[in-house]
C-alpha cells in the first residue's frame, strides 16, 4: 500500500487544499450515502427550502447503496457506485456547500470546474471492495428518503475508510495521471 494520509470528516477546506490527485487517504468521521433516486429528491428539497437540508452543509456525500446489516456490521457490503450518474446534480450541491464526494469513475468537466470553484474534493474508493469497505463503517442511521430502500440518505460513521484523491482543488484528475 502507498503511504496513507489520515483525514478527518467533515473535510476542512484548509486540509482540502493540501490534497493532490492520486494521494492515498484514510477517512475517519461522518459521511452521507446518497445515489441516483436520492439525488433527484435532494434537488427537489433544495428547490423547496433554498439550501442544503438535513445538516448537509460542509459534509461528504458517498455514492453508495449498501446491502442490509450482516456479520455484526451496519452493512454486509458497501462500496462506491459510478459517480458520473450524479454529475447532473454535483455542481449545484458543491456550490451549496457539500465539501467532498466519494465514488468511482470519471467525472464531467462541470464537476472538475465546480471542485476548483468551491475548493471541494472528489475521492475515489475501490469499486468491488465492498466487504472490505463495510468493515470501515462503524454505524449508520437513515436521515431521509427511507422509502427508497438502499437509496435512502444515510449518515454513516467511518474509521480509516480507504480512498484515493480523484479530483483535487486544482482540478487535477487521478484518471489523467501518467503512472
Amino acid at each position: 500500500m502507498p503511504d496513507a494520509k489520515p483525514l478527518a470528516l467533515p473535510l476542512s477546506r484548509d486540509v482540502a487544499k493540501t490534497l493532490q490527485a492520486g494521494d492515498f487517504c484514510l477517512l475517519t468521521g461522518s459521511m452521507y450515502t446518497l445515489r441516483d433516486a436520492g439525488h433527484a429528491r435532494l434537488l427537489a428539497d433544495m428547490d423547496a427550502c433554498g439550501g442544503l437540508p438535513y445538516g448537509l452543509s460542509g459534509q461528504t456525500i458517498f455514492y453508495a447503496g449498501p446491502t442490509p446489516a450482516a456479520a455484526g456490521r451496519p452493512f454486509g457490503a458497501v462500496g462506491p457506485t459510478t459517480s458520473s450518474r450524479m454529475d447532473f446534480a454535483t455542481p449545484r450541491l458543491l456550490d451549496a456547500g457539500i465539501a467532498a464526494t466519494v465514488g468511482k469513475g470519471y467525472r464531467s468537466a462541470a464537476v472538475h470546474e465546480a471542485c476548483v470553484r468551491t475548493g471541494s474534493v472528489y475521492f475515489v474508493a475501490c469499486g468491488g471492495a465492498a466487504a472490505l469497505l463495510a468493515k470501515a463503517v462503524a454505524s449508520s442511521k437513515v436521515i431521509a428518503y427511507d422509502d427508497l430502500g438502499t437509496e435512502a440518505l444515510r449518515r454513516i460513521d467511518v474509521v480509516d475508510f480507504p480512498v484515493f484523491v480523484g479530483i483535487d482543488v486544482a482540478g487535477r484528475d487521478v484518471y489523467a495521471l501518467d503512472s
Partner: protein, 285 residues
C-alpha cells in the same frame, strides 16, 4: 428416453446458488486477481488489487456480499435434444430469487419499470430468464449470473460494416474500454459477441462471460483473438480501478456466430472484477 426438467428443480437450483455467488468469488476469478496482484507494477493498481484480494477473503469468511451491488439475476437454461421443458419452467424462479435475497441479506436493486415506474420492487425480482437450445443430446445446463449495474452500463452493441474486420472489432472494444472501463470496476472480464443479429449479439457477449478464465476457447482462432484483445486492452494502462497499471482486464471471452452479408454485429458486455456466475448441471441431478 426424454429427460424432463421441472420448474421446481430450476427454482431450487437458483435459490441454492444465489447466496453462494453473492459471497464467494469463483475460484478462477479469485486466482486471476491474485496473479494480477503478483504481476502488477503500478502502486495504485497494486493497492486496488490488494484490496480486491482481501475483499474476496473477507466476503468468503464472513459470509457477506463481495459487492454491495448484488445485481440482477440472469438465468439461462441450455437444453439439448431429448430434454423437455414446459413453457412455465421459470414460473417459480422469482419466488426463489425473492427468498434468497431476503435470507442472504442481499441488496434489492430492481425497479418496477424502466420508464413508467421506478419504484423498487423490494425483492430483487424479476429475474431475467431464457431457454437456449444447444446441439448436444441430453444437455440440461443452468447458467446463473448476478450482474452488477455499473458494468452493464459500460457495455454496448455496435453494428459495424463487414469491411471493419478484425481491426475494427479491436478498435471498437478498445474505444469501449477507454471510455467506460473505469466505471465498470476493473480488472474486467470482457464478454465479446460477434455476429448473429442486433438482438442476438448482446446475448452472445453475455453468454461468453460464462466460460471460466481457466478454460480456453474451443476454437484456436477464437483463443488467439481473445489473447490479442486482452493484450490490447491491458496495453491501455487503465489498470485496476482505472487508477493505472497493467491489469485492466483478467480475461476476454469471445463468442462468434453467422451473420448477414451486410453485417458485422459486435457486442461488448463488461464484467466487473466480481464476476459472479455459475453453471449447474441439471441432467446429473
Amino acid at each position: 428416453m426424454d429427460t424432463i426438467i421441472e420448474k421446481q428443480q430450476v427454482a431450487a437450483a437458483v435459490r441454492a446458488v444465489i447466496p453462494h455467488l453473492a459471497c464467494e468469488l469463483p475460484s478462477d476469478v479469485e486466482a486471476a486477481l491474485v496473479r494480477a496482484l503478483e504481476a502488477e507494477t503500478n502502486p495504485r493498481g497494486r493497492a486496488v488489487l490488494a484490496q480486491l484480494v482481501e475483499n474476496a477473503r473477507i466476503a468468503r469468511e464472513d459470509n457477506v456480499p463481495i459487492c454491495q451491488d448484488t445485481g440482477t439475476v440472469w438465468v439461462s437454461l441450455e437444453v439439448g435434444p431429448g430434454v423437455l421443458v414446459a413453457a412455465d419452467v421459470f414460473a417459480d424462479v422469482d419466488a426463489a430469487v425473492a427468498e434468497a435475497y431476503e435470507t442472504a441479506r442481499l441488496r434489492k436493486s430492481l425497479v418496477r419499470d424502466a420508464l413508467l415506474d421506478r419504484t423498487n420492487t423490494g425483492d430483487n425480482t424479476p429475474a431475467f430468464c431464457d431457454v437456449h437450445p444447444v446441439a448436444d443430446r441430453g444437455v440440461a445446463r443452468l447458467h446463473v449470473m448476478l450482474k452488477g449495474g455499473g458494468s452493464d452500463n459500460a457495455s454496448r452493441v455496435v453494428m459495424l460494416p463487414p469491411s471493419a474486420g478484425r481491426a475494427g472489432i479491436v478498435e471498437e472494444v478498445l474505444a469501449c474500454v477507454r471510455e467506460k472501463a473505469a466505471n465498470a470496476c476493473p480488472p474486467l472480464v470482457i464478454g465479446v459477441g460477434v455476429g448473429a443479429t442486433f438482438d442476438k449479439v448482446a446475448d452472445l457477449a453475455k453468454r461468453a462471460l460464462m466460460r471460466p478464465l481457466d478454460e480456453p476457447a474451443p476454437d484456436a482462432d477464437v483463443a488467439a483473438f481473445e489473447g490479442e484483445l486482452l493484450d490490447a486492452v491491458n496495453a491501455t494502462g487503465i489498470g485496476p480501478g482505472g487508477l493505472g497499471g497493467n491489469a485492466t482486464a483478467i480475461g476476454v471471452r469471445v463468442e462468434t456466430a453467422p451473420c448477414h452479408i451486410a453485417a458485422l454485429p459486435l457486442a461488448v458486455n463488461m464484467g466487473c472484477s466480481a464476476m459472479r456466475r455459475a453453471t449447474i448441471d441439471l441432467a446429473a441431478g
